[in-house]
Every structure is written in C-alpha cells, then in structure tokens.
Amino acid sequence: MTHPFGPATRLALVVLAAASLAACASTKPAGPVAPRGPAEPEAPYRPPSQPGPVTQEQAPGVTPGSVQDFVINAGELVYFDLDSYTLRADAKPVLDAQANWLRRWSAVRVRIEGNCDERGTREYNFALGARRSNAVKEYLVSRGIPASRIDTISYGKERPLDPGSNEEAWARNRNARTAITEGAR
C-alpha cells in the first residue's frame, strides 16, 4: 500500500533540490578591485571549449496524470464525522476535483479505502468503513466516473493514518482515501 505521505515527501525533496541549484547560480558579490599591475603577457588564443551536450529533462515538478498529480492537485482524502458516512461539505470540493481529474485521465482506476477511528469495535467498523468508501464511490459515479473504474474496500480501524489516541487523531482516521491502482503516468 502506498503511504499517503509518500508523494508529498518526494515533492518536498524536489523543491529543496531546486532551491539549492538556484543558490549556486546566483551572482556572487564583487571582490575588492586589485590595482592594475604590469600588463601580463596575453595568453595565446584558445578556441572556446565546445559546449557540453544539453540534455533535456522534465522540469522538476509534478507529472500530469501521475499519482503525485492526483494527490496534490485533486486530493486523496475526505473526512467524516463520528459514526457517520454522510459526505461533509468540505469533502465535496475534494471529490469534485477527484472527479475532474479522473475524467481527464480516463485510464486510471481507483480503490476507495474506508477508514474508521479506533473508538469502535472491529466488525462494526468494517461495515462503517464500507459505508464510507461506498459514499465516495456513489458521489464520483454521480459526477460521471464509471463505476467500473472504482473499487471499494474497508480497512475498518485497522490502518490508521494517525497512530495517536486523541480526538485529533480519531478525526484524521475517519476518512476515505482514493488510491490509484492503475493507469497513472
């Protein structure tokens, strides 16, 4: 299973690398001007060295249609209230973005993983997580994504995003994660 923070961490590294390259290229402050001494003999002419081959590389950033693109530009997680599988108002913009992205990248298949906090029992939470993943699936289908491209699974309380045992962790762990399973660039 891809860790939800994997792509984000990689992006941060790319940005850092770009920043340090920029630092190297910046102009250095001018040093003190030495008094002109006796003219040195002119160096014999040399032809300028041949420029090295220029390789064209992808600019650091997100490949459109990649998992990273989806995670950053659409968003993979929506959150739920306690013991609820009703899509919250803050989930709909994320799911609309997911639907737009999935419409554009029509080869992509996803698996929606329903998750619950640890303040419930095992089997009830498998059922509740299934309700959550299905609620997301239904929404995406209502936005035109074929149901055949969407699998669902419930991890119940067994794959918490946040290992903490407090209200904040529980709120983060009540989620549905849309994971790309195939077709990404």
Binding site: T121, E123, F126
Partner: protein, 435 residues
C-alpha cells in the same frame, strides 16, 4: 510455515477408570459456588505427583489451572508436612487440616510398559476424610500437559458441579509492528498459553477466527488490498478453503453449532447484511435485508436463533432473530453502543462489547436482554469469547498507544486476569473441550 501441532495428531486416550481401591464418596461436603463468584477461593493442597519425573510438572500445571480460575487457592507446598504422598494410601487428614486445606489432590505418574504415560490421581475431602474422585488417565508422553488439564477439569467439575474448561485451546490473532502497519498472524495455543504456534505467515491481515464445534476447523476473515475473504482452515491438515468470492466486504464468519454452516456478513453498495452458507453445497442464503448494518452473528447453541449487531435503530444495538431471519427484535436496552454479541455455550447468556462514557466494557445479559451486568471497563475491551463451560470469558484489552493483550474475566466479574500469553494479541476464540 504451517505446522500441525502434535496435540491433534496424537490421539489422547483418556481412559477414565474409577480406581477400585478407595471408597467412593456419595456426596461432596465441599462445594465451590460458581454462581456467587468466589470471595474466598477454596484452599486446596496439590503435593507434587510422585512416580516419573514428569509428576512434578503435571501437578504444577494442575495447580496453575485451578489457581487461574480464581475459584481455588492452591496452598504453598512449603507448608506441607508430607511433600510426597503415595497415591494408594489414605492421607493423614490431620496434617492437611493444620494448614486449612479443604481439598487435597494426590497423584502418581508412571511410564507404562508400552511407552505410554499413566497418571493415577485422587481428590480428597480433607474435613470429611473421604475420597471424592479417583481416576486414571493414559496418553503418549508428549501429551502430558493435556493429561494435567484433564485432571484439573475433573477436580473443577467435582468441586463446582460445572464442567471444566482447561483441556481447551484458543485461536487468536498475534499482532506485531506499528499501528499503521500492523502484522497479524493467525495463532493457536493451549488455554494456559503453552504450545503457541502460528497458522498464517503475516503476509496478509487476518481477523476474527472461530472454532467449529469439533475443534478441527477454524473460520476466519482475511483482508488484502485486493479485498476481503473468509476461509475455512483445517488445523490438522492445514487445508485452507475460501468460502466464495465477493466483490465487496465479507467478514464476521461464524460456524453454526453443528459445524455444517457458516453465517457471515456481506457488504453490497455499502450495506452489510447477514448470510448463511451451507458448507456442503456452498448454497448461500440471505438472512437479513435491512438497509442498516447487520453483522457479528452468533448462533444459539441449538441453532434455532442468531444474536447479531445492527444499527437499524440509529446506533449499534443487539438483536435476536430466528435462524431464517424472521422475528428480529432488539434485546439491548440501556444507553451506550452494543456490538460483538456472542451466545454462551449453555444458551443462557449473551456476552457483548459495550461502549459508554468514553470506555469500553465487556458485559453479559440474559438471552432475552434482561439482567445486564457489566464485567470489565478500560480504554478498549473488545471481542468476548466463551469458555466451553460458560463460566469464563476471554477478550482483548488495549490501552491508548499500547498494544492489545488477551484477558479473562469470570462471569461474575470478580476474577479479571491477563491471559497467559505475553505478547500483543487480539480476537481470541475459545475451543470446545477437546476430545
């Protein structure tokens, strides 16, 4: 990976024959009342069994079983006037009265000529000065622990009037790794924690194993990123069989009392309902049709009814229905959220998990929903399973940020103890008494 333990491959010949030499007690003056719980556990003396070198080990296992039950208080062998007692001689009861022993167990282990192990033991009522029990068991030498458990069961039954539960095993989920990437392996052990072994390799998650009535088969749930499955596993042969294939979630498998069917939950389009599969034909029928969550089924011992978990009233509660799905009615009444109901083997009680006031509890209620009693309380107490005598419940307990451990509580709630398994574990299921 899979290794059949010798417990089943070697047949235990439990030849229980009454020893002829001693008088047979017509009545027992000492009685342990299991219904009241025990505020004063019965003082019992169990001197090291004589004969073979295994004798001392056998009596230690008997002692540990009886002690863990909470109903008995085995006395310190250092206080015994006689350290070793000839099993064929009448004890000097005055010596045992001096240390306030009410019951005395004497025994002797010998190697039979054919390589088998034989144990003779007697249970004595110290104050009445009479024998309550005299039995002989034989088995293969590697099975000596089962022999000890059978003695403990015999003592327990004689003194409480209830069947014992020591010659049993527990299947459970052994857990390791971090919370977010927990590794879960199906595991099995004797009820006293001995002989633990793994049944799956941890490459996929497993949950909620249950024994069939013959103790040879387990049903459990597996969860992989590609989906959920339920399986039958024969623990003697290692043969594993998937019970159908389902596009959605499938979970909470339970055997019927006759072992011929499995009830479980199937999720379709977000709705979980209970189904029953005939294991012979694999014909499957849907038992609940409510749009709410219906899961965690548990058959009544006669197979005619099922208790299950549903949130059709708006919050998870406990319901009972006929095995065909008719006549469903709610039996949990109080506040709080009720889940994971399990019918007791004697049919009288339903054990459950209850969530209330920020805590989780294990409790019991009568099968009609009356007489609810809360037995435990912690950050997370979950997943009760019954000992075959309906007197002890095993469950798992987790603390915030800790790891789950197996615990037991007696049905009166007086004796709560960590089960003798020292590592992270959850989802225990108790076997029936072994044959």
């Amino acid at each position: 990976m899979f290794r059949t333990k010798n417990l089943f491959s070697v047949l235990l010949a439990a030849l229980a024959t009454l020893l002829a030499a001693a008088p047979i007690a017509a009545r027992a003056d000492i009685v342990v009342n299991v219904d009241q719980g025990v505020t004063q556990p019965l003082p019992i003396a169990i001197p090291a069994f004589g004969g073979s070198s295994v004798g001392g080990q056998v009596s230690q296992v008997v002692t540990a079983d009886l002690q863990r039950s909470g109903l008995f208080r085995p006395l310190d062998p250092n206080t015994f006037v006689q350290k070793r007692i000839d099993v064929n001689l009448q004890p000097q009861f005055d010596q045992w009265k001096q240390i306030s022993a009410q019951a005395l167990v004497t025994g002797q282990v010998t190697n039979d000529g054919d390589g088998r192990l034989r144990v003779d033991f007697r249970l004595w009522d110290v104050y009445a000065g009479e024998q309550l029990l005299g039995l002989q068991f034989t088995t293969t030498p590697e099975n000596w622990r089962r022999l000890a458990h059978k003695i403990a069961d015999a003592v327990y039954e004689k003194l409480t009037g209830e069947k014992g539960y020591f010659d049993t095993r527990v299947v459970f989920v052994a857990e390791s790794g971090t919370k977010a990437k927990r590794i879960r392996r199906l595991a099995i052990m004797d009820q006293d924690g001995a002989n633990p072994s793994y049944l799956t390799d941890g490459s996929y998650m497993v949950f909620t194993p249950r024994f069939s009535s013959n103790s040879q088969e387990i049903t459990f749930m597996a969860l992989r990123p590609t989906g959920a499955s339920i399986y039958l596993l024969n623990i003697e042969t290692g043969r594993q069989e998937a019970l159908g294939h389902y596009p959605g979630m499938v979970f909470a498998p339970r055997f019927s009392p006759d072992g011929r069917k499995v009830a479980f939950s199937v999720e379709k389009a977000g709705n979980s309902d209970i189904y029953v599969m005939d294991l012979g034909s694999h014909a499957t029928s849907r038992v609940t049709t409510d749009p709410a969550i219906d899961t965690s089924p548990s058959f009544s011992p006669d197979g005619s009814q099922m208790v299950f978990n549903s949130d059709r009233s708006g919050s998870p509660q406990i319901y009972v229905m006929n095995a065909d799905g008719s006549g469903a009615h709610r039996i949990s009444g109080g506040g709080g959220r009720y889940t994971a109901p399990v019918w007791s083997p004697d049919g009288k009680l339903i054990a459950f998990t209850k969530q209330e006031g920020g805590q989780f509890h294990i409790g019991v209620m009568n099968a009609d929903g009356s007489g609810e009693r809360i037995l435990t309380s912690s950050y997370l107490d979950e997943g009760p399973t019954w000992a075959p005598n309906s007197r002890v419940i095993m469950f798992f307990r987790d603390s915030a940020g800790g790891g789950p451990r197996l615990w037991t509580v007696d049905v009166t709630g007086r004796v709560t103890a960590q089960a003798p398994y020292p590592l992270s574990a959850s989802d225990p299921a108790w076997s029936p008494l072994l044959n």
